[in-house]
Amino acid sequence: MELDDLKQTWQQQRPEPIKNTDIMELIHHKSYGPIAALKRAFLKQIRVMIILPILIFLVNVNDWQKALTSVLFWSYVVFCAGVVVYTWFNYRIVSRLEGMDGRVKTTLQEQIAVLETRLRRNMIGLRVVLLYFIVLLEVLPYFQHYRMLDKWHSLSPLLRFGSYAGFLLFQYFVSRRLCQLKFGSHLDYLKNLVSEMHD
């Protein structure tokens, strides 16, 4: 079959019409693309992180003075604020990818670059957060007394630090695997498309 022989027929064809082609109605629908989904997930995360410290405070409202002078409570607040800022930053970056009007190859390359950077930063961010809470667990008893930490600190330092190291190692492998499951296949698909565009 020669493609050129079919060009005219191809151009004359009128494919079976799509049921709903009401443009004015369609433009008001929600996008189901991966970028729109990612943006919705970010907004949800921001809302949760804003509500979390308020919830913690409400749970301890009977003893609100203690809650407001607790290092642990303010640590949660700092942690949540940090996550909100980081998520907002991610939201802005992902919003930039929404433009689908660039050349196809350029759009794909931009999406790959942003996804890779985001994945790398996520991994680093997660490790920083874990280290922050490990340090907090170790340092906190020097400032304030928490009953729940008494048992933990009665263990030998070797066991405690061994557990921290084991946990960090576990997190390293689990988060890599989770990232691969969540974004890896999409990233591989995008990279494959770009490689198909090279000679």
């Binding site: 079959m1 020669e2 027929t9 191809w10 009128r14 689908m100 050349r103 498309l193």
Partner: protein, 170 residues
């Protein structure tokens, strides 16, 4: 009021080029539901990008960019589009078409073969069949003119083999 006017202008421009969107849907989605979803997503993306369209390129070039970008990346997480398709799942053309039954059969055979190409090859062959110049294809896809020519020759050979296999298979 201004927004209403923009919506009207957008609708008019899309209506004039609606056939292009239908063809992209036909190439990249297999079922009626998939085609409807893809059409909807493409219209949403076009509407989002519309304020940035300043007429630096042809409207059809801009439209193809958005449509192909959306088709190959825009719905990936929601649905897996076809890599191959059963003949009975292929959409048919409108009965008012002027060409013969034999030509229609050849076109169906071509669509079956195209369904087995990868996503990038599908875009190239679609633009080629629409008689877009290599310069315009380069502007849409971002693949250099010379690479496109090489790829097109390979695709032609691939389609020749695929349609030959179908001929023997039926």
């Amino acid at each position: 009021m201004q927004n209403r006017e923009a919506e009207k202008a957008f609708e008019k421009s899309i209506r004039e080029h609606e056939g292009l969107l239908h063809k992209v849907c036909r190439i990249y989605a297999s079922t009626d539901a998939d085609r409807q979803d893809l059409f909807q997503e493409m219209v949403i993306q076009l509407w989002k990008a519309y304020p940035k369209f300043k007429g630096e390129s042809k409207f059809s070039t801009w439209l193809y960019r958005v449509a192909i970008n959306t088709a190959i990346t825009g719905l990936r997480q929601k649905k897996d589009f076809i890599t191959s398709v059963e003949p009975e799942n292929l959409p048919h053309n409108s009965s008012e078409d002027t060409y013969s039954k034999a030509e229609e059969e050849r076109l169906q055979q071509l669509y079956r073969a195209i369904a087995q190409l990868n996503e990038v090859e599908k875009a190239i062959v679609m633009l080629y069949m629409e008689d877009r110049s290599y310069d315009e294809m380069e502007d849409i896809l971002g693949i250099s003119n010379s690479t496109l020519r090489v790829k097109m020759n390979r695709i032609k050979e691939k389609l020749r083999l695929l349609t030959k296999t179908t001929d023997h298979g039926t």
